[in-house]
Amino acid sequence: MNRRTVLETVKDIKSGKIRIKDLIQECIENIEKKDNTYNAFISLNKENAIDRAEKLQARLDAGEDIGILGGIPVAIKDNILVEGLKTTCGSKMLENYMAPYSATVINKLEENGAIIIGKTNMDEFAMGSTTKTSYYGETKNPVNIEYIPGGSSGGSATAIGTDMCMVSLGSDTGGSVRQPAAFCGLVGLKPTYGMVSRYGLVAYASSFDQIGPMGKTVEDVALTLQVIMGCDSKDSTSQFNLEKDYLSTLSKGVKGLKVGIPREFFTEDLEDSIKESVINAAKVLEDNGAIVEEINVGNTEYAVMAYYIIACAQASSNLARFDGVKYGYRSMNYESLGEMYDNTWKEGFGEEVRKRISLGEYVLSSGFYEEHYLKALKVRRLIWEEYEKHFEKYDLILSPVTKVSGIKLSDDVDSVKLYMDDLYTVSANLCGYPAISVPFGKNECGLPIGVQIMGKSFSEETILRAAFLLEQRNGD
């Protein structure tokens, strides 16, 4: 499994070379062997997966078309609802919550033949970039178990890296798909805001959240994106978009494309090996006919502040529904309703979540709303206008994904410093742009490095083309 792409696997399944049940068994065996160490999964779907494998095989044998992801094992981040399975969001608050319905993306995956293996570990309620804030323990980097896999979609990345599945879905609010992809040597894509339905994704920051595919290759990610994208009548923010066949244009190359690299991103604290990777990536693009130039992007450090203000504010409202009334954890220490609310909040949420909710309430409170939340929305517009201007001239923007290439699990990083590390990824969320992290280069310890390609809204085809090229040339 670890050498084949999704397309090759689907072909082999179709031709009978691989039996679906064997493929699923292989995943399950890997999980049983390795997950005690790696802790990628919170819950598993073993029996159902095998049952589904048998049913799909029977249909295939009868000559039916079982879909473009027919038989492919997929892992789902545990903040995306799958009916009949627990959805915990990495939190005590939803420890035993059984999803009463499936997210739209899940229906799409299953209609196209995918088999859901289980729900993966994540930072609690997607708030974090290490997967260490999960109530269900930390997840290890598949390349080196001393390191974090990144977050908040850490489990989704590790599951692929350890061959417990072939592709996975994560969610990206400030970089939570791209950053773990970079740390684990995988490809991770955040689609344009509105490309993929959020119905069934537990909301963190409604203006930024997008479900994104992760995989070993650009082709795997492109294929998964094609399946999960599309306007949804249950999500008012999802946009009408035409059917796209990204696979057919992947190898079109980058000739004539104009690529900008923001000067301001190359700060003192950016690791040298990452700087080198970006420069090398730029060279590859140039060698293949792209025009690469440095550009100026102002307000970069304020982008992170604006992101946190808006995200925490929306989160404080989105997470208010977790109150012990209708579902999830309810404290046992209460005599009045007020006490029930307070204690459920204190006991059900972890420290990082409580911190962000408190910050969110603060920036929305009367007297502070204008100078914080409204201000952040204005800064958001300034940043967006600036990028829009650049995108009139440039097709793509190339940048690092992270400031460092490896953080040890035992490292205790200052929280504000961690926030600032989101510098390269948050602009895509603030402005709704699509962005992909593709492995390019390694550091001196052999840990993978990812570079980010961002495009203007609905330009997934272009960023996938560029990522595909870099992937081909990685290690040259």
């Binding site: 959805t87 994704l201 909301a203």
Partner: protein
């Protein structure tokens, strides 16, 4: 009320439940009176991952009300979140329109003792209703029913233009009729499809500035509203006269005790942390919708009134009474369409129908009688098929049970007897049996004929044509004179 030195300034916040088939942000039914928690789904119960989707019909209804109240209808309006914790609020935030409502700056003209007056409408905005809570004091628990959570509401906020309780009642009655005619809500105070909060302040007559206002809730009838207004004005004047100041508080009216109590003081006022709703795009009211509203604008009360008087030629009194209830106008107009005898129809509505409605404490919407049967009935009466006594009986049966009048009359043999020969025979029998009365009549006592007519009717089992009876009786009596 001793208001000599002071005057009142009153403003209203009116919540109206819209009668759309589905909720404002999901496809659950809005039907009233169902088993608890059956009209629910992930959206209106605040499940994780659920998202709101706007019901276009709610927008149309809101815009239609704004149009009828002479408001500016904003092409673009937005939704905002109002954040607060309460068990009837599944997401612990309410989606409402705080910053940019759908309608603004309208007015409604009312009649006052000093002539006509315009009450300003500051805004109309859309929002979602909360669920219902039931309490069990013994067990110290509350029960939550989410059926009502997500039902579309509009909130109409007036300017503080009212000067007394009568103006308020006049306005509310007029507003209710308009909304009923638009058919966007049942608008019933006692059922909760219309809820009124009163903001009231007082000031010395010479004073230009408005005083500090209080808010009053739990006003469940027009009478309660009027009582609460008078009570609160008195209370505030008393406080001011004693040198105190009015606190900006929310008070709960108790109609049994006829007093209000403090619910929430200014210090306890919540910070709702309003911010724009990120899950919903802007609300567009485009030209197509505006045109549609214009075209489907119904006749409102005064137009119907004029139409009934001028075109259908029914008396002013009848027209006024019928147009007081939208469902009554529907019954009236549908019946006229079938049998085209407006005066006859309105007679029965003003007379017998009204009597039965009062007796049963029904509204016109409770009448069982269909226009088809009513029209049939009216024709039968004017053709003399049944006499007036029988008609009253048949009418009531039809009113309460919607019986088919022709069938009923047939089955019960109630047809008016207009057989001249048969009646003549009965008349002759009665004359023969009542010599004394006949002698009295011939001696000049006209009253005796009443008795004789009664006897004939009795012998004819009440079905004889009274006119014919009179005619034939006189004829027979005069024969011998």
């Amino acid at each position: 009320m001793r208001m000599n030195e002071y005057k009142m300034d009153i403003g209203l916040e009116i919540h109206i439940e819209l009668s759309t088939d589905t909720k404002i942000f999901c496809k659950c039914s809005t039907q009233f009176g169902c088993e608890p928690n059956v009209n629910t789904c992930p959206v209106c119960t605040g499940m994780p991952g659920a998202l709101p989707v706007l019901n276009k019909q709610a927008v149309r209804y809101a815009a239609a009300v704004g149009d009828a109240l002479n408001c500016k209808i904003n092409t673009i309006s937005k939704f905002d979140r109002k954040n607060y914790y309460y068990p009837d609020n599944p997401q612990n935030y309410q989606i409402t329109q705080f910053y940019t409502p759908i309608c603004e700056n309208g007015y409604l003209e009312i009649d006052t003792i000093d002539g006509k007056k315009n009450i300003g409408i500051r805004e109309i905005h859309m929002e979602e209703d909360a669920g219902k809570l039931l309490h069990n004091d013994l067990k110290n628990v509350s029960f939550i029913d989410y059926n009502r959570a997500g039902v579309p509401l509009i909130e109409i906020v007036t300017m503080p233009d009212f000067s007394n309780g009568d103006e308020v009642t006049c306005f509310l009655e007029k507003l209710r009729l308009i909304i009923q005619y638009l058919q966007v809500s049942d608008c019933k105070l006692n059922e909760g499809s219309m809820r009124v909060d009163v903001n009231l302040s007082v000031r010395k007559k010479e004073c230009e500035e408005l005083g500090t206002r209080t808010e009053m809730k739990n006003l469940n009838s027009f009478r309660a509203i009027k009582r609460a207004i008078d009570n609160e004005a008195s209370r505030q004047i008393e406080v001011l006269k004693n040198g105190g100041i009015i606190d900006m508080e929310t008070r709960r009216w108790d109609d049994l005790k006829e007093e209000s109590f403090v619910m929430r003081s200014k210090e306890e006022a919540k910070d709702y942390r309003y911010f724009p709703e990120p899950d919903l795009p802007m609300v567009y009211v485009d030209d197509a919708m505006l045109k549609d509203i214009e075209l489907s604008k119904p006749q409102f009360r005064h137009e119907k009134n004029d139409y009934y008087i001028n075109e259908l030629k029914i008396p002013e009194y009848d027209a006024k009474l019928i147009t007081l209830d939208y469902d009554m106008t529907v019954l009236f107009e549908e019946t006229v369409k079938i049998c085209d005898k407006p005066k006859n129809i309105s007679n029965w509505l003003i007379g017998e129908a009204n009597r039965i409605l009062k007796e049963k404490e029904w509204d016109a919407c409770d009448i069982k009688m269909s226009p088809k049967n009513f029209a049939m009935f009216v024709n039968m009466v004017s053709e003399g098929i049944i006499n007036s006594n029988v008609a009253k009986v048949v009418f009531e049966k039809m009113f309460l049970e919607d019986i088919n009048p022709e069938k009923y009359v047939e089955e019960n043999g109630l047809k008016q007897n207009s057989d001249g020969e048969m009646i003549k025979k009965i008349v002759q029998d009665v004359i023969n049996d009542n010599e004394q009365s006949v002698r009295d009549y011939k001696a000049g006592k006209d009253k005796a004929i009443g008795y004789l007519v009664g006897q004939v009717m009795k012998k004819a089992a009440g079905k004889a044509n009274p006119k014919l009876v009179n005619e034939l009786l006189l004829e027979e009596l005069r024969k011998d004179m």
